[in-house]
């Protein structure tokens, strides 16, 4: 357990400022959306505002779309960029632990950090908008935002996978593949319509979580 603590300590030193920015960004945008909602709700009147929302299916929360992706980039790059410049990954792999354990401690740390940056904010947001919006609206709103959150997690795992890949040619190819994969999560769909895609998106996210195993294998058997 002590060894794990020390590994996590290194990850924390790398990521703490970026994670703080990510947390503030997440909270800030969500609070802003809530304040805009509140202001519109109170000035137009509840019935008018809600009827318009029901008719036109306005995505009042759409500015949040790429925030999870931004957070994933902040956490992922702050975590992995220092590991791959000057081939510093050799330092991690030289530690007296199994290589996969070293890498996956890093990946699990990033995943947990990402969750901590995003999920509490979403929960607070849900609580706040429920003051003004009934469940029939709140639930589809969350269902529409869920692919973006999953996209954030998926993006993080893909960043780890690309970082672990030592050959630049393949890094570039995986970047292209990642771009297309992530575009599935961030499609501009009408409110509520993304729910049918969620099983596929969950599957892709789970698959991306084990993708770093494939590229990190290179360090054992390939070129550094």
């Amino acid at each position: 357990m002590t060894i794990l603590k020390h590994l996590i300590y290194k990850e924390w030193v790398k990521t703490r400022w970026f994670a703080s920015i990510a947390l503030l960004l997440n909270l800030g945008v969500l609070v802003y959306i809530f304040m805009s909602l509140r202001s519109s709700f109170l000035s137009a009147g509840g019935v008018t505002y809600l009827s318009a929302l029901l008719t036109y299916k306005t995505q009042f929360f759409s500015i949040y779309r790429y925030i999870p992706l931004g957070i994933a980039l902040l956490v992922g790059i702050s975590q992995f960029a220092p590991e791959i410049t000057d081939k510093r990954i050799k330092l991690a792999l030289h530690l007296p632990l199994h290589n996969l354990r070293i890498i996956y401690t890093m990946v699990v740390y990033g995943f947990v950090l990402l969750a901590l940056c995003m999920i509490p904010g979403i929960l607070i947001f849900t609580g706040l908008i429920s003051i003004y919006l009934p469940a029939e609206i709140t639930l589809p709103v969350l269902q529409t935002m869920l692919p973006w959150l999953l996209g954030g997690f998926c993006a993080y795992f893909l960043i780890a996978m690309i970082a672990m890949e030592p050959v630049w040619k393949f890094r570039f190819l995986y970047l292209l593949v990642s771009y297309k994969v992530l575009s599935l999560f961030f499609m501009h769909l009408p409110i509520g319509n993304a729910v049918s895609l969620l099983p596929v998106l969950c599957l892709v996210t789970c698959l991306s979580s084990i993708a770093p195993v494939y590229t990190s294998y290179r360090f054992n058997k390939g070129q550094l």
Partner: protein, 297 residues
């Protein structure tokens, strides 16, 4: 494998694409010895280090450290190995306290004092990140970490890279004293041969595709000789003779490198009817011997 070989490479062969790096290389490093790997750029030094650390799989053959294949080193064995990356690369985003705190968790015999003895000599602020330190300061940090880890085997990849003479001397003195006092085994590479001379017990000289020398340093320097002489002509070909390891000449001044002795060389010249004068043996440093062996660029 003999019981006291720490490192054993058996019939190591590697290619970069189609280009042969070396073939059937065999290396043995006994416990408590300091081996220096010398060679020109591209001779395969980094390849060997990468194979030893398990970052590269050789085309054929294998390397063993403490009896384990380097492609599958166990955590227990990794704990016994201290590794210095070329350029003293470390986690530059940490400061000296953070990095000590980080590494101390992995090595049960962590010697904090050994680390801070060196670090306290550095003129740095307590929270100064390693990325803002000079090359020499970073080398000192790296050295401190290795000493604190107290490994049984040290693998040092080009420890002198980027260091000024003061730091290099500090490094060598610490390393030699530490290794000999504690019975450590060291495998190192370097470009700067006069540093090696002060440090190593055994030498391994690589040239393109082959090993030229693998023996204790003393053996090599006592057997490998340079004789200089002047001839009347400047077009005499001596390189093909088996006695000649290398022959260099500038006009009619010749340098003859050989494992033979003075008598044998004189006999060679006389048998070919070559008149010579000012024949003498030149004392060689290890660097002179290396250049003599591998040739000037």
């Amino acid at each position: 494998m003999e019981p006291n070989y720490v490192i054993q490479c058996i019939n190591l062969t590697h290619y970069y694409g189609k280009k042969l790096v070396y073939e059937n290389l065999n290396i043995n490093v006994a416990e408590g010895r300091i081996l220096g790997l010398l060679g020109k750029n591209g001779a395969g030094k980094s390849t060997t280090i990468n194979i030893l650390n398990g970052f590269l799989e050789p085309r054929s053959g294998q390397c063993l450290i403490y009896g384990e294949n380097t492609q599958h080193l166990s955590p227990a064995t990794k704990r016994r190995i201290g590794y210095l990356i070329e350029g003293h690369v470390q986690y530059a985003f940490m400061n000296v306290h953070q990095i000590e705190k980080f590494y101390s968790g992995f090595y049960p015999n962590w010697k904090r004092d050994a680390y801070f003895n060196l670090i306290d000599k550095l003129k740095i602020t307590p929270h100064q990140k390693i990325s803002t330190m000079s090359c020499g300061q970073r080398a000192q940090v790296a050295l401190g970490l290795i000493l604190a880890q107290d490994p049984d085997l040290l693998i040092l990849d080009d420890f002198s890279l980027g260091l000024d003479p003061g730091y290099r001397r500090l490094f060598i003195d610490y390393m030699r004293e530490y290794a000999k006092a504690e019975g450590k085994t060291v495998f190192l590479t370097s470009h700067i041969i006069q540093d090696m001379e002060r440090l190593i017990d055994d030498i391994l000289i690589m040239d393109y595709n082959r090993v030229l020398v693998q023996s204790p340093v003393q053996d090599f320097t006592s057997r490998f000789k340079e004789f200089t002489f002047e001839l009347d002509r400047d077009d005499v070909e001596l390189k093909e003779h088996p006695l000649a390891v290398n022959v260099e000449h500038l006009r009619n001044h010749y340098e003859f490198y050989t494992y033979g002795n003075e008598t044998e060389v004189k006999q060679l010249l006389e048998s070919q009817g070559i008149a010579y004068r000012n024949f003498k043996e030149e004392p060689m440093t290890l660097e002179d011997a290396f250049i003599g062996l591998t040739g000037k660029y």
